[in-house]
């Protein structure tokens, strides 16, 4: 992108001025790195360092007290014979597969409603965004637990319609729908991004489509969806990665145990229990790395498949 202007400039400028320019470029780079330094140091010391040591620990038996003992790939191989591990994978995949698309659908639907010009739109936007500001917090998890408990508002509300499910919190079949509702309710962040994307779609396209007699459904699939596809792709990717990392709400709602009957034993919760309750840091590190690798592969698959359905405006196709 920047290549052709540079080339043409090079061909027209004389040697000394070129030298001065590259000198200045060097000074610019130095200044840039100096400004970057605080972040870079923090990144190396607090993120890269621990990640490397956790990679090492994942090949060891480490209980926090004694020096780590090298055991090669043992942690990784025992993982697949650990029933609780397999259960945690099942629970997490379930959550990601059902929770993420539903959340994005809700976000897109609300974003489209809020995109029209009406009075008080600013207020509605803030109101719909609010849950995602507080949604990840401990207090909401506690509220959620109370709402879905025995005789909680949800139980009572449903019983008006003759549905008697009892409390969801103690029922292994109902905990997953409860967590999915919790994540869907926090659609604010992707919604704002969708809204920004919707505003970028030129109105002429819709006007032209109307002239040609297209209805709202056709407009959505033939204009909104393709024009918005980079934003949809971005949100899908971010929300999927985010969903794999669910921890705080699961920890609070199940009292840090992953119950009832293991139905809320999310991957990160099991990782945490292995590390900090059972003192098996090597095992927990192996789990962490496996998650990084799997999320990496999923990201890669997303990018590969995106070529067929994501349209970038810069692309000449």
């Amino acid at each position: 992108m920047t290549q052709s202007p540079t080339l043409s400039r090079r061909s027209t400028t004389s040697a000394p001025s070129q030298l001065r320019k590259s000198k200045r470029r060097g000074a610019d780079a130095r200044a840039g790195y100096t400004f970057l330094l605080p972040w870079l140091l923090g990144f190396i010391a607090l993120t890269v360092g621990p990640m490397i040591s956790s990679l090492y620990l994942s090949f060891t038996n480490y209980n926090l007290f004694e020096a780590p003992k090298w055991i090669g790939l043992d942690n990784y191989t025992t993982l697949f014979q650990d029933e609780r591990f397999l259960q945690s994978v099942g629970v997490t995949v379930n959550y990601v597969v059902f929770g993420t698309p539903l959340k994005l659908a809700a976000a897109l639907a609300v974003a489209m409603l809020l995109n029209s010009k009406r009075r008080g739109q600013g207020f509605y936007r803030s109101a719909f965004y609010a849950p995602s500001l507080i949604g990840a917090s401990v207090s909401i998890a506690i509220v959620w637990k109370a709402m879905f408990g025995d005789n909680g508002p949800v139980d009572q509300g449903l019983s008006i319609f003759g549905i008697n499910l009892g409390g969801w919190v103690g029922n292994p079949a109902m905990t997953m729908p409860m967590f999915i509702l919790l994540t869907v309710w926090q659609f604010g962040a992707p919604m704002v991004i969708f809204l920004a994307g919707l505003k970028q779609i030129p109105n002429e396209l819709y006007e032209a489509a109307s002239m040609d007699g297209a209805g709202p459904v056709r407009k959505f699939f033939n204009i909104t969806w393709p024009m918005l596809s980079p934003v949809i792709f971005f949100n899908l990717l971010m929300e999927t990665i985010h969903a794999f990392q669910i921890f705080a709400s699961a920890y609070i709602i199940s009292n840090g145990e992953g119950g009832p009957a293991g139905s809320t034993l999310f991957y990160t919760l099991y990782l945490y229990l292995r590390g900090f309750s059972d003192f098996r840091m090597g095992y927990a590190s192996a789990m962490a790395w496996l998650l990084v690798i799997v999320v990496g592969i999923i990201t890669l698959i997303f990018f590969r498949t995106s070529k067929s359905w994501v349209h970038y405006s810069g692309d000449s196709r």
């Binding site: 607090l46 993120t47 621990p50 990640m51 040591s53 956790s54 620990l57 038996n61 209980n63 926090l64 007290f65 004694e66 029933e83 408990g149 025995d150 009892g166 409390g167 919190v169 103690g170 029922n171 292994p172 994307g197 970028q200 980079p230 934003v231 971005f234 990717l237 971010m238 990665i241 985010h242 990392q245 009292n255 840090g256 145990e257 119950g259 009832p260 009957a261 293991g262 900090f276 309750s277 059972d278 003192f279 098996r280 840091m281 590190s285 962490a288 790395w289 998650l291 990084v292 999320v295 990496g296 990201t299 970038y312 405006s313 810069g314």
Partner: protein, 429 residues
């Protein structure tokens, strides 16, 4: 609009987040081994518990500081679950507090791994302690913990609830069958409004007591399991016919009440647990009166009961102020005024000096009287359980809960627990 390059950078940031957590320990203060009134040393003390215990502990610390002007105590507390996670990270960073309240379940984990100070090397007076109690703080000839107080297992019941159902109060001389019948009677007579109790077979210590009643050791000397799969199957079969009936509270209910107990929430008429939970149960349930009787046993001469240290005082192996730490521990376990402050909220004071210096009234008296009434049945306290015992205790509870949800049958549950236990023992060998 959105271009591709822009995008890759944003995405890269999102994926990095699975690092290992590291915590910093608290640094010790500056001056040397001992202090003076003008230049006191500061030791850190940490405990688990609720606000009530925090208030009592602050009083005890203030008293200690007024008696020992050369030492300042910096106190800090959390709840039980968070407590062990904090200690783990501190130990990893080499920064455990100087003095800590401790639980028997975790004594081996830290003692055997050289994190705790051998208290026989410092000056703490244990003359006023029952000789049978002290070994529970000792591992391989070293004293890592001094018991503050004792607790014993008991069946709690609410006399008012039984009276309203027209059920006679239990005497505490009962077999498991009689206890089961009692639970069923409560459930039936109340039409399911009140459960008899919770599934007592899910409580590790009750299982341990049953093993003792049958003269089986839970753990062998060399840290292996002392009982067989058949023993555990037999145990979990005790309530096989009660599960899913009004005799015992359904797991759905119990799970939703957590962290509050079913008994404290007035959902059950009885509960089997430690006798020092009395104050907590009274506060939670609002009941006027709760009573204690011994646990069931099929052998009336062997109830399998014992006094366990309800908590211990330990010091960090790395403390710079051994002398100050020892004086604080000695004060907390022996001083009669400390007994007056805590009453039975830590359990019944273990040191006779402290016990005799404390006046017990009302519910405190009930707990003390209960421990007196079972004196003739008491056997030696168990040794500190194996390394990783806290994990085993938790998985015992969890797997028994799966049993109640009908997710596992008794055979599968037994296999699951033994697999975890054997894996853990191998891991820590």
């Amino acid at each position: 609009m959105i271009n591709r390059r822009h995008f890759l950078t944003t995405v890269a940031v999102g994926t990095a987040s699975a690092g290992v957590l590291a915590a910093c320990g608290n640094g010790a203060s500056s001056s040397g081994e001992t202090g003076s009134a003008e230049n006191p040393v500061t030791i850190n003390y940490t405990w688990w518990g609720n606000d009530d215990r925090a208030e009592r502990t602050r009083k005890a610390i203030a008293l200690f500081e007024s008696k020992n002007p050369d030492i300042k105590v910096n106190g800090n507390f959390t709840d039980f679950a968070g407590y062990w996670q904090k200690r783990a990270t501190e130990a990893a960073g080499g920064g455990l507090p100087d003095v800590m309240q401790w639980d028997l379940s975790y004594l081996r984990d830290y003692g055997q791994r050289n994190q705790l100070l051998d208290l026989s090397t410092v000056n703490i007076n244990t003359d006023a302690f029952e000789k049978s109690l002290l070994p529970s703080g000792q591992i391989r000839g070293k004293t890592y913990g001094i018991p503050t107080s004792t607790n014993a297992f008991a069946v709690y019941y609410d006399p008012a609830k039984l009276a309203s159902l027209g059920i006679a109060e239990p005497t505490g001389k009962w077999t498991y069958k009689e206890y089961n019948d009692f639970l069923t009677e409560v459930g039936t007579k109340s039409n399911g409004a009140l459960f008899g109790g919770t599934d007592y077979t899910g409580v590790w210590w009750m299982f341990n007591i049953w093993l003792r009643q049958n003269n089986i050791e839970a753990f062998t000397e060399d840290g292996k399991l002392g009982f067989s799969k058949d023993d555990l199957k037999k145990w979990w079969n005790f309530t096989a016919e009660l599960r899913g009936t009004p005799a015992i509270a359904s797991e759905e209910r119990v799970t939703q009440l957590a962290p509050k107990s079913a008994f404290g929430s007035n959902v059950t008429a009885t509960e089997v647990t430690w006798d020092n939970f009395m104050a907590g149960y009274l506060a939670d349930s609002g009941a006027k009166e709760l009573k204690l009787v011994p646990v069931p046993s099929d052998d009336p001469d062997n109830l399998g009961l014992f006094l366990k240290p309800s908590m211990l005082m330990v010091a960090s192996a790395k403390t710079k102020y051994k002398d100050a730490a020892a004086r604080f521990i000695d004060f907390m376990v022996n001083d009669p005024e400390v007994g007056q402050i805590f009453k039975t909220s830590r359990g019944v004071p273990a040191s006779k000096t402290q016990r005799d210096g404390t006046t017990f009234e009302g519910t405190d008296k009930l707990v003390v009287d209960y421990e007196k009434s079972i004196e003739q049945y008491l056997k030696d306290a168990p040794e500190p359980p194996i390394v990783g015992f806290g994990t085993l205790e938790a998985s015992f509870k969890r797997i028994s809960s799966d049993l109640n949800y009908g997710k596992l049958d008794i055979n599968a549950a037994t296999d699951a627990w033994f697999k975890e236990a054997e894996d853990l023992i191998k891991q820590n060998a």
